[in-house]
């Protein structure tokens, strides 16, 4: 057992309102620069939808992630030799048009336009060429299902859905969507690291953050294609790859990443997970339907004395172990089993976790009701209010956001992983509603709770951490001890008496 610590984020999708505040916080902090205009290290997609870059989940085309075949785990992108032969042209690289051409507006025209009959307008101009352009795509072009027929239908996760379920999803009265905020998953078995011919990308052992060493990057751009989540970006101006750094400078100073800290819906949690680094390869080499289980088995119990001893032997200090014990991520992922990784079938062992969203199930029940009544149009569901919750709980397979769809996103298509999660979340919701209506947990609610496999205490804890967590409960950040690490990097006395700043090397093309 080789214990290592990992900083992980959790996205509670049931709380995400799709406001993009996270994206803006990230953009302002990290990618508001030349060559990075098109990058969204953090982006929020509407699902079903094609996402950003458009169709990133289509691995037939973009060749991201790992393939498990005949007992071998290989990059889908290339073998090592193939990688060298494709240095001059990388066929799987997305083009800028797969993202979008970044644009701004020529606001100065509003002030400098000559006097005339018409209102002056600010025309859109490309942020690359500076020339006028017609924006035809953007990172949120299909936000809230706009342009649905074009975008949502191309969602690869809709494959393997019953035609009936699919029709139900597309039905205008029953139309439904969820949000999917995404950052780099800081995988345990990162494909970007494996694909980099220069060896410029690495995983930090201390906290698991995957970083690009820009001094080593030589613009072979294999990482961009190899990352199945398309979360490594190529800066066309500097000729270097860039990616989400999990705001490690903020983490090291005790602050949550900007996206998490700014989250309006407070959907993001941040904490330490202890994992067994020895078992990474075997965890990635199991059949698709066992992937979730095998990945979660890597995550160790921070209360287990054996684990604690092994962690200390690996140099993980007391503060980190305590943080791991208080980690909200550990609770959601391992204790309550409410969270799953995004697209485990890519076999990169993504370390950001998602609590799948609940969806209203009423429309299908309504439809059945309508059919039985033999009249068209929308009908108000005429069920006793108290039974409504239980209808939802019992009719999960009729959920408007199909369970199969969520399974394609978070469980490699295995619905058996999604159903218990939704049932637990619904059970907590039913319990709390009954409590507020009846003033106590009712018999029915307790039965549902038992069916979902939760105790009253667990349900209460889930409820509290879901709805009422304080900042300190959401972000349990370990002490990084920068004060102890700094002198290891640089001798603080070495520059004493010098000008102070040293040589500034601007990140310009070729300089």
């Amino acid at each position: 057992m080789k214990v290592r610590a990992h900083m992980s984020m959790l996205f509670h999708l049931d709380k995400c309102i799709g406001c993009h505040t996270c994206s803006i916080a990230c953009k302002n902090l990290w990618t508001d620069r030349k060559g990075a205009e098109y990058m969204w290290w953090n982006n929020v997609e509407t699902r079903p939808g094609a996402g950003y870059p458009t169709g990133w989940e289509d691995q037939e085309r973009f060749r991201g992630g790992w393939e498990y075949k005949d007992g071998h785990l290989d990059l889908r992108l290339h073998s090592r030799t193939q990688g060298l032969f494709r240095l001059f042209f990388n066929p799987a690289l997305p083009s800028l048009d797969d993202y979008y051409e970044p644009f701004t507006f020529r606001y100065s025209d509003l002030f400098t336009a000559p006097e005339g009959e018409d209102q002056p307008t600010a025309i859109p101009v490309s942020m690359i060429t500076g020339e006028p352009m017609t924006p035809e795509a953007g990172p949120n072009w299909d936000d809230d299902l706009s342009g649905s027929p074009l975008y949502a239908k191309n969602d690869p996760n809709l494959k393997a859905l019953d035609p009936e379920v699919r029709a139900q999803l597309e039905e205008i009265e029953g139309v439904v969507f969820q949000y999917l905020p995404r950052i780099c998953n800081h995988c345990l078995n990162p494909a970007c690291v494996a694909a980099c011919p220069s060896g410029a990308i690495y995983k930090r052992a201390e906290d698991g953050v995957v970083l690009v060493n820009e001094n080593k990057c030589k613009a072979w751009r294999m990482c961009v294609a190899a990352c199945p989540y398309k979360k490594v970006y190529y800066n066309w101006a500097t000729g270097k790859s860039e990616k989400c750094i999990l705001c490690f400078p903020r983490l090291e100073t005790g602050q949550a990443p900007a996206c998490a800290h700014s989250c309006v819906g407070r959907i993001r949690y941040m904490g330490v997970l202890l994992y067994d680094a020895d078992r990474i390869p075997e965890a990635a080499m199991v059949p698709d339907e066992e992937l979730v289980e095998s990945q979660l088995s890597l995550i160790l119990d921070p209360f287990d004395p054996e684990v604690i001893a092994a962690a200390k032997a690996e140099g993980i200090d007391e503060g980190w172990i305590q943080a791991a014990q208080k980690s909200p991520i550990y609770k959601f992922v391992k204790v309550w089993r409410l969270a799953l990784p995004l697209h485990p079938e890519y076999r990169t062992l993504a370390m950001m976790f998602y609590v799948p969203p609940l969806s209203p199930v009423v429309s299908t029940v309504e439809k059945a009701f309508r059919a039985s009544q033999g009249n068209g149009g929308l009908v108000r569901l005429d069920l006793p209010e108290t039974d409504l919750d239980f209808e939802v709980y019992a009719a999960l397979e009729k959920a408007r956001m199909p369970v199969k769809y969520l399974a394609n996103l978070f469980a490699a298509g295995n619905e058996a992983h999604i159903v218990p999660v939704l049932k637990k979340m619904l059970a907590v919701r039913i319990l709390k509603r009954q409590e507020s209506l009846e003033g106590r947990p009712t018999e029915k609610a307790l039965k549902v709770l038992a069916d979902a496999g939760l105790t009253l205490e667990e349900a209460e804890a889930i409820y509290r951490l879901t709805t009422l967590p304080t900042l300190e409960e959401r972000f349990v950040l370990p002490p990084y001890h920068r004060e102890m690490a700094a002198e290891v990097w640089k001798d603080p006395l070495a520059h004493k008496g010098e000008a102070g700043l040293g040589y500034i090397q601007p990140p310009l093309r070729g300089e």
Binding site: A194, V224, A237
Partner: protein
């Protein structure tokens, strides 16, 4: 000192010194600046035809030159049978034309595609022009002054060795035709530009990738000690 000596005895040493010293400086002190500066993200289709042709054409032709430099006798022996000489010459010419085509495509692309133009520095154009001249003069030499692979061991090999052994003999080139001289001079120019342009990426060809393990894990603190 005449022009011949200046261009083929003095300039080569300036070029070589720059190539070695400045490249070493850049690799050590300005590593961020070393990059292939790929523009594939901005434009793909024309890059495919241009980049593949230019790179593979040039790499193979340059390896051929290197072989002629290292094994002149072997080359002469190979060429002793006419069929083998024709085969070599045709292959070389084909690769040269391929590289020429690729470089032309890249140059035209850099000028005409607005996005690529926006990302370009003057050096990016200059590099392509130098490579284009190199391919063009090489092809002209191959076509006009047959057979290069036959006289290269007699003229170019001793000349290049004379430069490398610090005993330059520019007079060997004195009577060569203009295109061939330009081809040689252009090579030294290429070397002189090498450290100041994106051409440095040539020395970073990541051959180590073939043997390194898939994953790289770095202990930031252990590394520092």
């Amino acid at each position: 000192m005449n022009w011949n000596a200046l261009l083929f005895a003095v300039f080569p040493y300036i070029a070589l010194t720059l190539a070695v010293a400045v490249t070493a400086y850049r690799m050590v002190y300005r590593p961020f600046s070393v990059s292939a500066q790929s523009s594939q993200l901005l434009e793909q289709k024309r890059l495919f035809f241009g980049s593949t042709a230019m790179h593979w054409g040039l790499v193979i032709v340059l390896l051929g030159h290197l072989l002629a430099l290292l094994l002149p006798k072997g080359l002469l022996l190979w060429n002793a049978v006419p069929l083998r000489l024709y085969l070599l010459e045709i292959t070389g010419l084909g690769l040269g034309l391929w590289a020429l085509f690729g470089t032309y495509v890249l140059l035209a692309r850099r000028i005409s595609v607005a996005r690529v133009r926006a990302a370009s520095t003057p050096m990016d154009y200059l590099v392509l022009v130098v490579v284009f001249v190199s391919a063009l003069t090489g092809v002209l030499t191959a076509v006009l002054y047959r057979y290069g692979s036959f006289w290269f061991p007699a003229v170019m090999t001793p000349y290049l060795w004379s430069v490398l052994t610090l005993n330059p003999r520019p007079e060997l080139l004195q009577d060569l035709p203009f295109w061939t001289k330009l081809h040689v001079f252009n090579f030294w120019l290429f070397l002189a530009l090498f450290p100041f342009s994106r051409l440095v990426h040539i020395v970073t060809v990541p051959l180590g990738y073939v043997v390194r393990p898939w994953q790289i894990v770095v202990w930031v603190r252990k590394l520092a000690r």
